[in-house]
């Protein structure tokens, strides 16, 4: 009988284990460092520019010292309008997929379509918006062209988050509602949607953040100019947003202080997004505490 082989832990594998685990920690810390450097650099570059005057002055076209007042307004206005358009459609499509489409081909096809739309590059949506709204409908570069095209970006996200939140509603709750004689619509509106509302709301805030940062779509639909009156609620005027402004001043290059303005605008956007991110986190915690 051969002597039993003795298996002893190999030194090499133990060293590899330790090295690789350290390397993974290093990798993760590197990503944190990238984010820190990123946010730090943007804020540092933008800080000297950021003051009340910058936030409340109108932009200049040729001279230094312009502000970003109308761009802030346009950003918020366009996000709000695009959400107002996409929310009903996204909710409706999400409700259809979760509650009516069943499990068969229709659902699979709809899912594929939502996924495709969600993956569509925003520059492609921009081309579509440019052909249909700017040119064919004759709306030219305007708030309305921008809002409608931007809504196309939001719809798949809202649809998905609605579907997922509705599917997470416990079956027992829906059954209880049907058991009391509720119609399907009543069950959806009074039991399922309230239960899913917090999840949908979180998704909405994230969608708003994405729309706020979007630029490719708006360059070609809402334009790179802004109305000279403030605040201008008209839908037919061009509406340059913060992100478009940031891109335009750096690529156009007629402003002597383009660099400072871009840095200040970027800092404002980063601050807004940090605030949005924190609010999502609070919302999430609040939801968890409430539903236990």
């Amino acid at each position: 009988m051969p002597a039993a082989i003795s298996y002893r832990p190999r030194r090499l594998s133990r060293v590899t284990d330790r090295v690789m685990r350290l390397a993974l920690w290093g990798l993760a810390l590197a990503f944190i460092a990238v984010l820190a450097v990123f946010v730090g650099a943007i804020l540092k570059q933008g800080w000297p520019v950021l003051n009340l005057g910058f936030l409340t002055r109108m932009p200049e076209t040729l001279d230094a010292g312009g502000g970003i007042k109308p761009e802030i307004f346009n950003s918020l206005y366009l996000v709000a309008l695009s959400l107002a358009i996409s929310l009903p459609i996204g909710l409706g499509a999400g409700i259809y997929m979760a509650e009516y489409a069943g499990q068969g081909r229709i659902l699979r096809f709809l899912r594929l379509c939502i996924e495709t739309l969600a993956a569509t590059p925003s520059i492609v949506l921009a081309l579509f918006g440019m052909i249909v709204f700017v040119q064919m409908m004759g709306w030219s570069f305007s708030i309305r062209s921008g809002a409608v095209t931007l809504a196309l970006l939001n719809i798949p996200v809202i649809t998905r988050v609605t579907e997922v939140s509705l599917l997470a509603v416990p079956r027992e709750l829906k059954e209880a509602s049907y058991g009391l004689g509720a119609t399907r619509l009543q069950t959806i509106l009074k039991v399922a949607l309230p239960y899913a509302a917090t999840g949908i709301l979180t998704g909405l805030v994230l969608t708003a953040g994405r729309a706020f940062g979007e630029s490719a779509i708006l360059v070609f639909t809402a334009g790179t100019n802004t109305s000279q009156t403030f605040p201008d609620f008209r839908l037919t005027v061009p509406g340059e947003t913060l992100s478009v402004h940031l891109w335009y001043v750096t690529s156009d290059g007629t402003l002597p202080d383009a660099r400072e303005i871009a840095a200040g605008t970027a800092a404002v956007m980063i601050v807004v997004l940090l605030v949005l991110n924190l609010s999502v986190r609070f919302l999430d915690r609040f939801i968890r505490r409430r539903t236990r």
Binding site: S13, R21, T116, T120, F220, V244, A262
Partner: protein
């Protein structure tokens, strides 16, 4: 036939005899206390259609995008009404690297090659680091680190592309050119791909974290029970087991990367003649030339030239055809992930 009311003493009250008639009951017509109004019933019936319409709108939208891009793009190849400019053949567009619109040369290979180069490089950076970070979050990180990493990724994904672009323009480009290129410009594939990698890494990290977390614990336990180290379990068991989903994660990252426009446009240098320039610069090593020659991609050319070309011109129409090409590529990517998903389930 037994009567329902006096059968109790001997026969069972509820016969399983199918031939027995259902007992007739004179039930008093009760006035129902609760009834749905007509309106409520109508709403229930018609709401279905309303929701369906929303769903169909999404389907129509995809068809609409395809149709309008194709209709405009076709103008570059067909003598359509109102099209007075030059008409091109497919061959001189898709199989030519000669781009000089002012002398009527419209070969878009430089843009296709540019898109593939920059996304390829970005994936080369983002896929391994993203997957390894995924394994770290799922298997090694303590609770607080998991939370922290998730938040870091949430923030990275939330940063707008123009802000990435401005960071590249104001921070990365000067730094790279000062540090490594003795102050010659750093625009080109390297910096674009690095920035693009940071933009798509959250997608890959979050999907691969999910992939590793959904693996049965038994796999890891089985491996470690044989005396393998943690890393050996990860390398030899977990990563192979999660491979189909990791591939899906990478392909979705690719989809995000190929469509990105603004950030790259701000740092890549926008030079459609990059191939010639790269060949011409003989003073540097080929690798450096590839990495740091100002170049262009499908998306950057769209951003750059769409506002500068006249509607109806060959150039302008061709830009829409390039958009269509981009859209078809992302559709192909989505279908590929579907295929991968099906393999996984089989």
């Amino acid at each position: 036939m037994p009567d329902a009311s006096d059968t109790l003493l001997d026969a069972p009250p509820c016969a399983s005899d199918p031939t027995r008639e259902s007992p007739v009951v004179e039930s008093l017509p009760k006035e129902p206390a609760f009834r749905h109004s007509r309106l409520q019933r109508l709403a229930d019936r018609w709401s279905h259609l309303l929701f369906l319409t929303c769903g169909l709108l999404v389907v129509a939208l995809i068809g609409g995008i395809l149709y309008f891009l194709a209709a405009r793009g076709a103008g570059a190849f067909l003598p359509l009404a109102g099209n007075t400019d030059k008409v091109l053949t497919l061959k001189e567009v898709f199989l030519s690297a000669d781009w000089d619109p002012n002398s009527g040369k419209f070969g878009i290979l430089p843009f296709i090659a540019g898109s593939l180069s920059v996304t390829g490089l970005a994936l080369l950076l983002a896929a391994p680091t993203g997957i390894l970070t995924g394994v770290f979050i799922a298997k090694l990180a303590p609770g607080w680190m998991k939370t922290l990493m998730r938040q870091v990724m949430d923030l990275l994904v939330g940063i707008p592309s123009v802000v990435y672009g401005i960071f590249g323009l104001m921070v990365v480009l000067p730094w790279v050119s000062g540090k490594w290129l003795s102050d010659s410009p750093a625009a080109g594939f390297a910096v674009s791909a690095a920035i693009l990698a940071v933009m798509i890494v959250p997608t890959i990290v979050s999907l691969s974290t999910d992939a590793f977390e959904s693996l049965p614990l038994a796999l890891e336990e089985g491996s470690q029970a044989l005396g393998s180290t943690r890393w050996q379990a990860i390398w030899h068991v977990l990563i192979p087991a999660a491979r189909p989903r990791l591939l899906t994660a990478t392909v979705l990252g690719l989809g995000r990367a190929i469509g990105e426009a603004m950030a790259i446009q701000m740092v890549i240098g926008n030079n459609p003649q990059w191939i010639a320039l790269m060949r011409g610069a003989t003073d540097q090593t080929p690798v450096l030339r590839f990495l740091f020659t100002p170049a262009a991609t499908l998306t950057t050319e769209l951003v750059q030239e769409l506002p500068n070309t006249a509607a109806g011109s060959t150039w302008n129409n061709l830009l829409f055809a390039m958009g269509l090409l981009l859209y078809l590529m992302t559709m192909g990517i989505i279908l590929a992930t579907r295929r991968l998903g099906r393999q996984r389930n089989a």
